[in-house]
């Protein structure tokens, strides 16, 4: 292992720059904002995040310069925990996988920072916003660069905190503050799973209660990713309560991933998280943080590959979420909510990817998704900006001419997400669906087909709801009131710049991962090969062949067109009347979708209400039973105390007084022994000596 990496000393700078930015803005930012101006806060934050982008790019170039199997930079900062043979270091690793993530986080994050300068300019506390944003970048970079699972967990918690802070950025609004709390609580449930997974992993590696006589050697106890790649093999064949230990660990960790990456059943926080500022939605709740779960599974690919059951669960959950969220997206009226469910759906695709072992495809989709979803969110932010804060798409329409840059970038991103060639998602999503179809599942033979079917329908739905959004928002007549219509204007240069760059990336971003089918080099897969080679060797193709792949690809394009055509048919030209007619016919289904299948209500009824009822019941018990008991106990204690007091007063005190009086009386007599005469004492002394001698004599004689 040691010969296959480079030790470098600069990786710590990558998370360090945003941390400094966060500290500067967090401590003296308010002063700068007041004295110098809001632009300075933005400049500080941007300099920080772009500095780390440059550092990351330098690291990336270093990696490129290495032989493929030596592509790993390690920066050991210091030893964090060292207990016996258990070592955890604060050290950063940049291998091809984390290099991709770092570049996405700092690159897309940097664009969003630029965009934010324009977006947040009218807010009261710009310094707080940029401080949080930089802090988030720091936490996210720690997450992706960490060399071991524990440091990753630190970053994991850090991004959760920043997410909470930023969703509740406008905490004056109770709804928004509540959304922040919801995100935090739901994430906490997931984090519990993650933590349980870490515990299981440690327990398993340390030996557990296995009877096979397996003993942990000193070097086994490490959470270091490269070390674990070898040591987790020791978990093979171990079972807990009849379930494979690897499955237990993987499923626990996946619970953490469902929380962070908004999968069923813990996705409910993400749509509410749209309460935060739109750039935050783009950065945290679309491009970076929510992909942490995908990244984690890809990072631990060698662990997941050991448990086909857990892989199947991941893929199944991903497929279900992809379709489920897409159908909710059909009916939403809030532009950001549509995008939020779209994000949930796309994250589902990524989980399909990593769940079927197509880690490269999952990460590829993660990257392209970061481009086009950030573009979409920033575009929606631009739209909202233009509409003076209006988010209901039914009150928009006809914006195509008024904000052209926003429209064109938004359209490009929509084409990308819908999967039209040659835009980004065409390659990444197709790769995922192909791998889902082709990779054999050793546990459930029909699973790949089910996953693929769900994914394909979700892809169709994606195209539909995205074009619906585009038609309603940008085409037809403007349905806004006069006042708003008067104010519609294109966003400032900083915002459109980010949009253009992201639209460009959405277009060309997919070209680095062109499938082998086109006989062009698949740069992305080749790049990530060293990370996943071990896992890839264990996956088996079902042998569908190139012809099937061509067929499926064509089918995907067909689906995208079908979705577009359906949307055009119903909403073409920005009309709503046809849609209303259809809605009237399927009123029931519409209501289910519009109300998000009543999942929130379901959770409220099944989790929150019973919990509240339980608390009420406990309160009643407290009031009527416990309090009575306490009162009774109090009364009994008082009575007993009175009784005891009487005993104390007359019996105990009496006894004490008797003893005292007796002693005083005895002393009165005994003091007469003290005559003060020398000889009297001598008599006693000598008599005592005599007595002792006599006694010892007698006793010695008797013995």
């Amino acid at each position: 292992m040691e010969g296959t990496h480079l030790n470098v000393g600069f990786l710590w700078l990558i998370p360090f720059f945003p941390l400094i930015g966060a500290l500067v803005n967090g401590t003296v930012g308010w002063l700068l904002q007041e004295r110098v101006g809001k632009w300075l806060n933005g400049v500080i934050a941007n300099v920080a995040v772009w500095a780390s982008f440059v550092t990351a790019a330098a690291g990336f170039l270093m990696l490129v310069g290495q032989e493929p199997e030596r592509r790993m930079l390690i920066d050991h900062v210091y030893s964090w925990i060292s207990v016996g043979g258990f070592e955890v270091a604060v050290s950063f690793t940049m291998d091809p996988l984390s290099a991709v993530m770092t570049l996405v986080v700092t690159g897309v994050g940097g664009l969003i920072h630029i965009y934010s300068v324009g977006y947040i300019a009218h807010d009261r506390s710009v310094w707080r916003y940029f401080s949080y944003l930089n802090l988030f970048s720091f936490a996210m970079l720690v997450l992706v660069l960490s060399s071991n699972l524990l440091l990753m967990f630190v970053g994991w918690e850090g991004v959760g905190l920043c997410s909470y802070l930023l969703i509740g950025f406008w905490f004056g609004d109770v709804e928004k503050a509540k959304a922040g709390m919801k995100a935090f609580v739901v994430n906490r449930i997931g984090d519990f799973g993650f933590l349980a997974g870490i515990m299981f992993l440690l327990w398993g590696m340390a030996g557990g209660w296995f009877s096979s006589g397996y003993q942990a050697s000193e070097s086994v106890l490490s959470f270091d990713f490269t070390t674990m790649a070898h040591t987790v093999q020791g978990l093979a064949g171990k079972q807990v309560l009849g379930i494979s230990l690897a499955t237990v660990i993987c499923v626990s960790l996946f619970v953490g991933a469902t929380g962070k990456s908004a999968q069923i059943p813990l996705y409910v926080w993400l749509p509410d998280a749209m309460a935060g500022p739109t750039p935050v939605s783009a950065l945290i709740h679309a491009a970076t943080m929510v992909t942490a779960g995908v990244y984690m599974i890809a990072r631990l690919n060698y662990l997941y590959i050991m448990s086909p059951v857990a892989m199947s669960i991941v893929a199944g959950t991903g497929a279900l979420t992809a379709l489920f969220a897409a159908t909710i997206g059909f009916t939403q009226r809030d532009i950001k909510k549509v995008l939020a469910y779209s994000t949930v759906s796309q994250l589902g695709f990524m989980f399909i990817g990593v769940g079927v072992g197509a880690f490269t495809a999952g990460i590829f989709h993660l990257m392209t998704h970061a481009f086009f979803k950030a573009c979409l969110f920033l575009g929606s932010g631009s739209v909202i900006h233009a509409m003076s804060g209006e988010q209901d798409i039914f009150k928009m329409g006809g914006l195509r001419k008024k904000i052209p840059i926003t429209f064109w970038t938004f359209l490009v991103a929509t084409l990308a997400i819908a999967g039209f060639p040659p835009f980004a998602a065409f390659f990444s999503k197709d790769e995922i669906l192909w791998k889902a179809f082709d990779t054999a599942n050793p546990v459930i033979p029909w699973w790949p087909f089910a996953v693929w079917t769900l994914g394909a329908i979700a892809a169709l739905g994606t195209a539909f709801y995205m074009f619906r959004l585009v038609y309603i928002t940008f085409f037809g007549e403007c349905r806004a009131d006069e006042e708003t219509r008067h104010h519609i204007h294109e966003s400032p240069r900083t915002m459109t710049f980010a949009l253009i760059v992201l639209a460009l990336l959405s277009t060309v971003g997919g070209w680095i991962g062109i499938p082998h089918l086109f006989h062009l080099p698949n740069l992305f897969e080749h790049w990530l090969e060293p990370v996943f080679e071990h896992s890839a060797a264990q996956l088996q193709s079902r042998g569908a062949g190139a012809a099937t792949e061509w067929g499926l690809m064509a089918f995907s394009v067909l689906l995208a067109f079908a979705g577009w055509l359906a949307a055009k048919q119903i909403y073409g030209g920005g009309r709503l009347d046809k849609a209303q007619a259809i809605v009237a016919r399927i009123q029931g289904l519409y209501r289910w979708s519009y109300h998000k299948y009543f999942v929130d209500e379901f959770y409220h009824a099944v989790v929150v209400e019973p919990f509240l009822a339980l608390t009420r019941a406990l309160f009643w018990i407290d009031q009527h039973i416990v309090d009575r008991l306490v009162n009774l106990a109090g009364w009994v204690t008082t009575a007993f105390s009175n009784f005891d007091g009487a005993i104390d007063k007359y019996v105990v005190d009496g006894a004490v007084n008797i003893v005292g009086d007796t002693l005083i009386g005895a002393g009165r007599y005994l003091k007469k022994i003290q005559t003060g005469r020398l000889q009297d004492y001598l008599y006693v002394m000598v008599a005592g000596v005599l007595l002792v001698i006599l006694l010892s004599r007698l006793l010695a004689g008797s013995a």
């Binding site: 003290q674 005559t675 003060g676 005469r677 020398l678 000889q679």
Partner: protein
């Protein structure tokens, strides 16, 4: 002359000293009794020393103790007589049965 005979003399001296200490009113006389007792003890030490050693090589520890006791006796006599003088000057008497300030 056996060790028993010497020890018997010492015992008699001790008893007489004890009687003296117990009966005398005068503090100086009490002190004389104490001197008798100390001499009895010294006699014992020397007797054991001489009768357990060989000729010309007595058990020397006994002799050393005897020397120390003589030194102590001299010191004790000096201090005790000084105290008696001081008491006489203050109280006008050295009768020990009158010196009962420590009573009760």
């Amino acid at each position: 002359m056996t060790v028993q005979s010497v020890l018997s003399v010492a015992a008699i001296l001790f008893s007489l000293g004890l009687y003296c200490v117990l009966t005398r009113k005068n503090a100086v006389s009490v002190l004389m009794g104490v001197e008798l007792i100390l001499n009895a003890a010294n006699l014992n030490f020397v007797a054991f020393s001489s009768f357990t050693g060989t000729i010309g090589a007595p058990e020397v520890a006994g002799r050393v103790f005897a020397v120390m006791i003589i030194v102590l006796a001299a010191a004790e006599a000096a201090v005790a007589l000084a105290i008696i003088l001081a008491i006489f000057r203050r109280m006008g008497t050295v009768e020990v049965d009158n010196l009962n300030e420590l009573r009760e």
